[in-house]
């Protein structure tokens, strides 16, 4: 079941240099990973500006905490862990500040009745929108596992290392997240299938 990301020698050298405080080498790593990091952040927060800010913050934190990075491990997994944790913290903070989540769920359910479109293409498009909203409405623990696995393709072990949880917990959360999404989008999926 292990499918660890292999670390390229070039990346390893960059990491070694960056770890010694070489900002140029760190810039190279930024160049390599800015897109995946941004998209990961965006999938969590669904907001361009916030994703942008989280991306910057993630790299700054990575640079500051580079001493704790173990050479030989995947930088991608490590930076993903940072961005995932920052995003989760952001979402938790946001949730505390506003209870928009409930409103959002209500809106989705309301829209669902209107969007019973017979045309297949329209249904597929609508499904994307609904799925995106449904993922957004997952709890942080389910969402992080689902996003890291489905969108970023991290292995169970990598997710476990990133989120500091057990592999078994990753599996169970992933299964439950998928089941939850399937239930939420049951009507659409039946129509699609």
């Amino acid at each position: 079941m292990t499918e660890q990301t292999k670390v390229q020698p070039g990346e390893r050298r960059l990491v070694a240099r960056a770890k010694k405080g070489d900002k140029e080498a760190f810039g190279e790593l930024v160049n390599l990973y800015k897109k995946p990091v941004y998209y990961l952040a965006y999938r969590f927060v669904k907001d361009h500006d916030t994703a942008d800010e989280l991306t910057q913050e993630s790299f700054v934190k990575a640079y500051q905490a580079f001493e704790s990075f173990i050479e030989g491990k995947s930088f991608k997994t490590w930076i993903f862990a940072i961005v995932a944790n920052l995003s989760i913290n952001y979402l938790k903070k946001k949730k505390r500040e506003t209870s928009l989540e409930d409103t959002l769920t209500d809106d989705i359910l309301e829209d669902k009745k209107v969007s019973s479109n017979p045309h297949h293409q329209a249904v597929a498009h609508d499904l994307k929108k609904r799925l995106s909203a449904a993922v957004h409405n997952l709890s942080e623990e389910f969402k992080s596992v689902f996003i890291l696995r489905t969108y970023e393709g991290l292995s169970y072990e990598e997710i476990a290392a990133s989120l500091k949880i057990e592999v078994g917990t990753v599996m169970s959360r992933l299964f439950r997240a998928r089941a939850k999404l399937k239930d939420e989008l049951k009507d659409y999926l039946d129509e699609e299938v």
């Binding site: 079941m1 499918e3 770890k19 010694k20 405080g21 070489d22 900002k23 760190f26 810039g27 930024v30 160049n31 800015k34 897109k35 941004y38 998209y39 965006y42 999938r43 361009h48 942008d52 991306t55 910057q56 790299f59 700054v60 640079y63 500051q64 580079f66 001493e67 597929a124 499904l127 994307k128 929108k129 799925l131 995106s132 993922v135 689902f146 696995r149 489905t150 969108y151 169970y156 599996m171 992933l174 299964f175 998928r178 089941a179 999404l181 399937k182 989008l185 999926l189 039946d190 699609e192 299938v193």
Partner: protein
């Protein structure tokens, strides 16, 4: 196939994630063919996965990625360079093997434990009792030692004479006194086990074996886990509080009356005069906090003298330094003598006998205050009815503190602890008011503040917090504490009250 039925969700997810080995995957596919409803479920998940992967991402403007990279690099460039240097430094000088790391950690922990133990053990009240040669310490203070159970008691070994020179808190003539005190404590309070420990401690070290350095070191304090004298004396906290206080007051009165001699009489009279003088300070002057706040921030030579009238100019010496201390000393000396004459006693008051502030540099204890002399006149009288820890009755004060659900032993224990703290607070108050040495008075004043904080930390009582606040202001106004301390104490009070809410 049975295992797929039982754990369908698990195998379905593993199949979706391509985590089944070839044999198992083939088996699972066969199982799905035989169970169309399971196949439909798989298709639903696949659609979900496929749709998720084709998720709509935002259309980003051209040049966005370059801009993002540039912003990140700018932020990273703005970070201090310390990490790299530190990493190199640490790598070069602090890369020890595991054994050394473990040993260093253990050593650090032991050191921290020993240091923190000294703080936790604290200082007993008797340390502040007047140590006059040939006279007994105040009986109220002898009786008011906190019980061992509170963990606040410790005993000095009777070798103070030999070690006095190494301990800045001891006076040179304290040896005889310390001997007396230790003997009393040993005879009356320490159980046989502690006596053994004490004897062992006295006899154990052989200076020849240990060397001259060890011989010069002061003996460590012996922690007293001994019997609780106060329990026998005050079985019920509520009654105990009052009886203890009464006993303290009675003992103080008896002490004053029983001990004859000029010194005691003068000390007593000096206290009265101090109290009277304090009352004479106009309220407007006391309340002029702005003036005093400024006074605390400037050197003593420029500080406003609270005893002078608004139009009076304090005397200066040839160096231009204010001489208000000596003026006040003469005033008190003269008033004391005239008071004795009035009472038919022919006593000549020597300034040193009332110890009016020849002590120098008392404000440098924390290392942050300007050095300067403190005299008895700097210390306000603290009326027991205003600052008492036990009046009104402890039961009323601690109502806010205890959760009603906490009943029985725990509550009783807490109440008893609280009560004992309050009794000790009252004893400190008594000791402060009768102390005639500025150094002791200052230390006692601070102890009273700390006792207030300890009590309020438990009680969360607002009226008590107000009292403590008044005490702090009094200390600030009289330069007994300074702003950093004042702010720290006040913040602590705020935190304690906030905890209650």
């Amino acid at each position: 196939m049975k295992k797929f039925d039982e754990d369908f969700e698990k195998y379905l997810n593993l199949y979706l994630d391509d985590l089944l080995d070839e044999g198992e995957a083939a088996e699972f596919e066969k199982y799905l063919e035989e169970n169309p409803e399971r196949l439909a479920e798989l298709e639903a998940y696949r659609t979900l996965d496929f749709t998720a992967k084709g998720e709509m991402l935002p259309d980003l403007p051209e040049g966005y990625w370059e801009g993002l990279e540039s912003r990140i690099n700018k932020r990273v460039a703005a970070l201090p360079e310390t990490r790299g240097y530190w990493a190199a430094f640490a790598q070069r000088f602090f890369s020890f093997n595991k054994t050394i790391k473990v040993a260093a950690t253990a050593l650090t922990l032991i050191t921290v434990f020993l240091i923190s133990r000294q703080f936790i053990v604290g200082t007993k009240i008797s340390d502040f009792v007047e140590k006059k040669p040939g006279s007994m310490p105040h009986p109220a203070l002898l009786k008011s030692e906190p019980p061992a159970a509170t963990g606040m008691e410790e005993t000095q070994e009777p070798e103070a004479g030999a070690t006095a020179g190494m301990d800045s808190t001891k006076e040179p003539e304290a040896g005889a006194y310390a001997d007396t005190m230790t003997d009393r404590v040993l005879k009356e309070d320490i159980d046989s086990e502690r006596k053994k420990e004490f004897a062992l401690h006295q006899n154990a070290p052989n200076s020849d074996d240990i060397g001259d350095i060890v011989k010069m070191m002061p003996p460590p304090n012996i922690r007293v886990p001994g019997p609780i004298e106060i329990e026998e004396e005050f079985p019920a906290p509520a009654i105990a509080g009052k009886s203890k206080l009464q006993k303290v007051e009675l003992a103080a009165g008896q002490y004053r009356e029983a001990e004859s001699g000029d010194q005691i009489a003068v000390q007593s009279l000096a206290d009265e005069i101090i109290a009277e003088t304090h009352k004479q300070i106009p309220d407007s002057t006391k309340k002029d906090t702005a003036k005093y706040n400024v006074a605390t921030m400037v050197p003593d030579s420029l500080a406003v003298n609270p005893l002078l009238g608004p139009d009076e100019e304090p005397l200066k010496d040839s160096m231009g330094k204010y001489q208000d201390k000596s003026v006040r000393m003469d005033t008190i000396k003269g008033r004391a003598e005239s008071e004795f004459i009035k009472r038919g006693q022919n006593i000549t008051v020597q300034p040193e006998s009332i110890d009016l502030g020849e002590t120098q540099g008392l404000r440098t204890t924390d290392g942050i205050y300007p050095a300067g002399p403190l005299t008895l006149m700097d210390f306000p009288y603290l009326p027991p009815d205003e600052y008492s820890f036990t009046n009104p009755a402890p039961e009323e004060r601690i109502t806010a503190k205890f959760d009603k659900s906490m009943e029985g032993y725990i509550t009783d224990t807490l109440q008893e602890k609280d009560n004992l703290l309050r009794l000790e607070g009252d004893s400190l108050l008594q000791a402060y008011n009768i102390a005639s040495e500025p150094a002791k008075k200052l230390e006692l004043f601070r102890q009273i503040i700390k006792m207030y904080l300890m009590v309020i930390q438990e009680s969360k009582s607002e009226p008590e917090a107000v009292e403590a606040q008044n005490l702090l202001k009094l200390g600030l106004d009289n330069n007994l504490i300074y702003y950093p301390e004042y702010n720290t104490y006040r913040d602590s009070l705020k935190v304690y009250l906030r905890e209650k809410k």
